[in-house]
């Protein structure tokens, strides 16, 4: 059921080398969103995240003949995107850290691909929607106000006439539940 029209990934590296545009487009479409999410975690700006991912794809296309992908394609892509994101951050951090990314403070700023790695474009959206729908109604609403409406915890507490700590608890609960949802049922 998963990916009815899935192409055979084992030959992707070969197909890319021979300049097969269909395969390239397929890979691009399949991984774009998830890779943007990965980059966004580092660079904290979605436009920059999109540029990072485009740059990685452009480089892959330009160097397709000499590229050597050992291991899985998705790991290769994630690693490339993480590295490109870090390049972006370091190009800023030696100046005056205009970016508020936590990654420039971390000892080892490269991390293993996270729980989203196996989520592909077409599944990602549905899965996230399902995850959010599975939250209790009140929790869902508070999370929506925080995440999608961008309200501060204080603003939410005033709006709903509840305490700030209730808001914080509910958002904590939402994130834990969603995380568990993404982790299981892959």
């Amino acid at each position: 059921m998963k990916n009815a029209n899935k192409l055979d990934e084992s030959t992707f590296a070969e197909d890319l080398k021979s300049g097969n545009k269909h395969v390239f487009e397929y890979i691009f479409n399949k991984y774009y969103k998830a890779l943007c999410l990965c980059a966004q975690k580092y660079v904290r700006d979605r436009h920059v995240a999109e540029e990072v991912v485009s740059t990685v794809f452009m480089r892959i296309w330009e160097r397709r003949e000499s590229i050597n992908i050992t291991g899985s394609l998705s790991s290769y892509l994630y690693k490339a995107v993480c590295n490109e994101s870090l390049n972006y951050l370091s190009s800023f951090s030696y100046r005056h850290k205009p970016t508020d990314s936590i990654y420039i403070y971390l000892e080892d700023s490269y991390s293993e691909p996270g729980i989203l790695q196996e989520l592909y474009t077409e599944e990602l959206q549905k899965k996230i929607s399902r995850g959010i729908e599975s939250l209790p109604e009140r929790c869902q609403y508070i999370f929506y106000l925080s995440r999608n409406q961008g309200l501060s915890h204080k603003e939410i507490s005033e709006k709903l006439n509840i305490t700030v700590s209730t808001v914080e608890n509910q958002i904590g609960i939402a994130l834990h539940k969603l995380r568990d949802f993404f982790k299981t049922d892959r």
């Binding site: 691009f28 774009y32 436009h47 452009m58 989203l116 969603l178």
Partner: protein
Amino acid sequence: MINRITQYLKGELNEDQKQELADWINASKENRRYFEEIADTWYAAGISQKHIFNANEAYNRFRNHNKSHTPARGIFTLLKYAASILALISLGWIGHLVFDNSRIEQSDSFITFSAPSGETAFLEFADQTVVHLNAESSIQLPESFNKDAREVFLTGEAYFNVARNEELPFIVHLDHLDIKVLGTSFNVRSYADENTVETTLEEGLLQVICGEAENGDDNIYFLRKGQHLSFNSKTNTVQIKEENTLLYTSWKQGYYKFKKIKLDQLVRTIERVYDVDISLDQQETGNLTFSGSFFKDESVEDVLNMVEQSALDIAVHKVANSRFEIISN
């Protein structure tokens, strides 16, 4: 700890708190994993029901500029493909310039970059100074540069992240005042159809020079980190206050936050962001005050709905495609 992480994700931590959080993440593999999972979850939840990260669009963009080598939006990608434009503006301190979405015009003595209604643009100079242009804004660079300063002329709104160079101050010329910095990040808002010129300083030190003082001398103000200056050109008065800078700078991430602003100004902002026309049936309606926020990804209908629902006595009607009317009951 989950609360700390959420605050970080919402951009509400200061440098010390960030360092604390980083120390905690660095402390163990488990902490690291926990942080990563929560951050992944947060970012993933943000794309729900929104059409951000559109792979098809991105692919088309990608394919088009691979094919024709014409510049498209991009910080990194453009470096390679904007060769013709780079040549055009390889002058003075600019050296090269990277732009995103912006329109370029060249006249005798100036090069103008502009962002039309409904769009924002991005420029990067060779000295790594970065400028985000908001909708309906333009920035002019002189063709031949003064050797003592980096000078630009702005109309509209822009966020500057100026690379530090003590020898070459960076000066932004506006209608009623000049802003001078050595290297820092700040926002400037100076739309011709508004009576105020505003600047907000995110870090460093900034100097505002208001000309036309009565005794002929310039009035000079210094802003510190987190301060906001507004100059009213009607009353010729200056007000300086401490303010959450995000209120003035988050637009560059497509996030518009506002606190106690008049409906007039909110309407102008929405018009610029979405390239629509909104009329008010009565002038007094424009004086209603609003606080809140919206994302550019949200539809203009949703945003106007929110406006309608947060005031008791106004109604928003769609009169035509991209034309709206706000009626007070």
